[in-house]
């Protein structure tokens, strides 16, 4: 048990160090950063703000990690967020009860995931291409649902999903932390995580070993759709309206970035949900840090690009091959 814990510590150490460095740098530039206060029965402060604003990307990163671990990718999550947000806002405006609205919107997310999963697993279409279809058509569907308007609502129960408090924390934080814990327990306390990794490393071999790869792949895309639906609900509840054009725009890229920052290879295989969640927080900390440090937000994308490049260099098979060669020659005097 101690060995697994130590291995896990080593696995997420780079992400934790990066997060600590980013937060420390913000702390140096902006000394008031760590002030946390309690007001109106909830914690306030920049760190809490990072946790709160990072919620959509963190939720997407959970599903995206599992999809990427199977060797796939889900480009449609941003569009699925828009669809589910649009459905939720329209239903609540039409007078449906909150549980029915939530159930139907999450169901729509599952359906989107099922569609992607069937295209990838049953028809054998490349994941980038298969999810591209929903990415292109999804925003059109969302606009069809809202009839091209920005649907606003004033339902307090629903709005509290995005801006309410639970256990002294903003509700979105509680939602993504719970989803993260639940997903980690499900994949790591059962053999599910190992099977997903097996499919990602070699789908054919895993099928020969008796893994139902097809069902597994459909399931991970459905989980990704469900996570996207939750993220869409939070965004919609937060702004109290469904914006089919801009809800979740480019968040698929942030989610993929979070997974890559979390050290999961885009080629599939070994994954760590917790590292991806830390990755999501790193991205949000950089976003917030650029804002509180007084840099113009325009620098945000350039800095992100530099981070991606740095990670690419570190993760590159060419470089890892060289490092392996180096350590081998060192080991054999």
């Amino acid at each position: 048990m101690n060995g697994t814990l130590a291995r896990f510590g080593r696995r997420i150490a780079p992400q934790l160090v990066t997060l600590a460095v980013v937060v420390a740098m913000i702390g140096i530039v902006f000394p008031g950063f760590f002030d946390i206060s309690i007001a109106n029965g909830r914690l306030y402060g920049s760190p809490i703000d990072i946790l709160n604003r990072g919620a959509p990307v963190a939720l997407l990163a959970i599903g995206m990690t599992l999809v990427i671990a199977t060797g796939g990718i889900d480009l449609s999550v941003g569009a699925v967020m828009a669809i589910c947000g649009a459905i939720a806002a329209t239903l609540i405006v039409d007078g449906y009860s909150l549980p029915a609205t939530l159930a139907l919107s999450l169901g729509a997310g599952l359906l989107c995931g099922l569609w992607n999963g069937l295209l990838v697993a049953v028809l054998g279409i490349q994941p980038i291409v298969a999810t591209l279809i929903l990415m292109v058509a999804g925003r059109g569907i969302a606009q069809l649902v809202t009839e091209g308007m920005i649907r606003t609502f004033s339902h307090h129960g629903f709005a509290s999903l995005g801006s309410g408090n639970l256990l002294w924390l903003p509700t979105p934080v509680v939602i993504w932390v719970c989803a993260g814990i639940l997903a980690t327990l499900v994949v790591r306390r059962t053999a599910l995580g190992m099977l997903i990794e097996a499919v990602g490393i070699n789908r054919r071999a895993s099928m020969l070993a008796g893994v139902n790869a097809r069902l597994l792949i459909v399931t991970v895309y459905m989980v990704s759709g469900l996570c996207a639906a939750m993220a869409g609900l939070i965004v919609t509840a937060d702004i109290r309206g469904a914006d089919a054009n801009n809800a979740g725009l480019f968040l698929e890229l942030d989610a993929i970035l979070a997974v890559v920052v979390g050290g999961t290879s885009l080629l599939g295989g070994h994954f760590s949900l917790i590292a991806s969640l830390i990755g999501a927080m790193i991205i949000q900390a950089i976003n917030t840090g650029i804002l509180v440090a007084g840099f113009p937000p325009e620098f945000n994308l350039v800095i992100k690009a530099c981070i991606v490049l740095a990670i690419l260099v570190l993760q590159s098979p060419a470089l890892q091959g060289a490092a392996m060669l180096f350590s081998r020659t060192k080991g054999q005097p």
Binding site: L132, V136, A137, V302, V308, P317
Partner: protein, 327 residues
């Protein structure tokens, strides 16, 4: 018939049928005015899609196109506003920059052996970020040379106008067709898409070809940005969001395999025109909303991907049949 030609044939058929349906409803659709506008309105997309066709045939993808177009527009406006350089000199500097940008991405893809998807994603962030840094506002371009360029057109019979940018797109397509199907570089691109290892064994210079493909895509994205700035007379860092997706969709609808190794530059032109036709129809109709464009394009994408999938499995089956017949 060669099964590789079937996707192209289907694309042409869909285009002709769609145009016939539009013509039956609105006879004005066939006028050269509408055709001229179709070319002008989609010129920037078409030029970018030619570069994307090469990238996709080689088995890669380039997500940076839309951002490069936005960067181009902002770069031109800022240069024209703050320096006294002639627009032609600015164009030359800019095309050099975007070509280098593409070449750098190709270099990273080859040297680090990383998926093109994530490398060009970084390029997308970088180009859009640089555009933001240059200017956040939408800046209009007011230069006599620009106005002169915009006023150029060739009068078609029936009062239609083939504008400079529409004509430029057709020229780029002609150049792309020759480059892809009639030169050694084109053959190398197809070989690379068929499999890197095989291509290397065949003696294809993999490094040089990969860098050249992305440099070409960068160059054409820059050219597309110039056309876009001529079309809108402004530079805006938030412009052309998602153009890379439209370009990919046009390439796929044009019959190019997304797995690489097979495709047609001419098909991409028809793919672009089909997408333009959908928009024109929606404008003519007046009651349909513009979001139908996205849904129809999504549906077309699905149809073509399924068609390609079916053809591939058919070819596989034929090959295995032939193999079993030989033994």
């Amino acid at each position: 018939m060669n099964p590789r030609l079937l996707p192209l044939a289907v694309t042409v058929l869909i285009f002709v049928v769609a145009y016939a349906v539009c013509y039956a409803q609105f006879p004005a659709m066939l006028s050269t005015r509408v055709i001229g506008n179709l070319l002008t309105d989609n010129a920037f997309l078409g030029i970018a899609a030619v570069g994307m066709t090469f990238v996709i045939i080689s088995g890669g993808i380039d997500l940076s196109v839309g951002s490069v177009i936005a960067f181009t527009g902002v770069f031109i406006t800022v240069m024209l506003r703050d320096t006294s350089l002639h627009p032609l000199a600015v164009f030359a500097i800019l095309l050099g920059l975007t070509t280098l940008f593409g070449a750098a991405m190709g270099m990273i893809i080859h040297v680090l052996r990383m998926p093109p998807f994530i490398v060009t994603l970084a390029g997308m962030f970088l180009a859009r970020g640089l555009a933001y840094i240059l200017s956040v506002d939408s800046v209009p371009i007011t230069h006599p040379f620009y106005e002169w360029l915009q006023s150029l057109y060739w009068l078609l019979p029936g009062k239609g106008r083939l504008t400079l940018i529409g004509g430029l797109m057709l020229l780029v397509f002609a150049f792309g067709i020759l480059l892809a199907h009639r030169t050694r570089f084109g053959a190398n691109v197809f070989a690379l898409g068929g499999g890197v290892q095989t291509a290397r064994l065949m003696g294809v210079p993999v490094a040089r070809t990969t860098v050249a493909i992305y440099a070409l895509s960068g160059f054409l994205a820059g050219l597309s940005g110039i056309v876009f700035s001529l079309y809108t007379s402004a530079g805006y860092s938030l412009a052309a969001v998602g153009v890379e997706l439209d370009a990919i969709a046009a390439v796929v609808i044009g019959g190019t395999l997304l797995t690489g190794g097979s495709g047609f530059v001419a098909g991409t032109l028809i793919g672009v025109l089909i997408m333009g036709l959908i928009q024109t129809y929606i404008i003519f109709d007046g009651t349909l909303s513009s979001w139908w464009t996205k849904i129809v394009i999504g549906a077309l994408l699905l149809v073509f991907i399924m068609l390609q999938k079916g053809l591939l499995s058919l070819a596989d089956r034929r090959r295995s049949l032939r193999a079993s017949g030989n033994t």
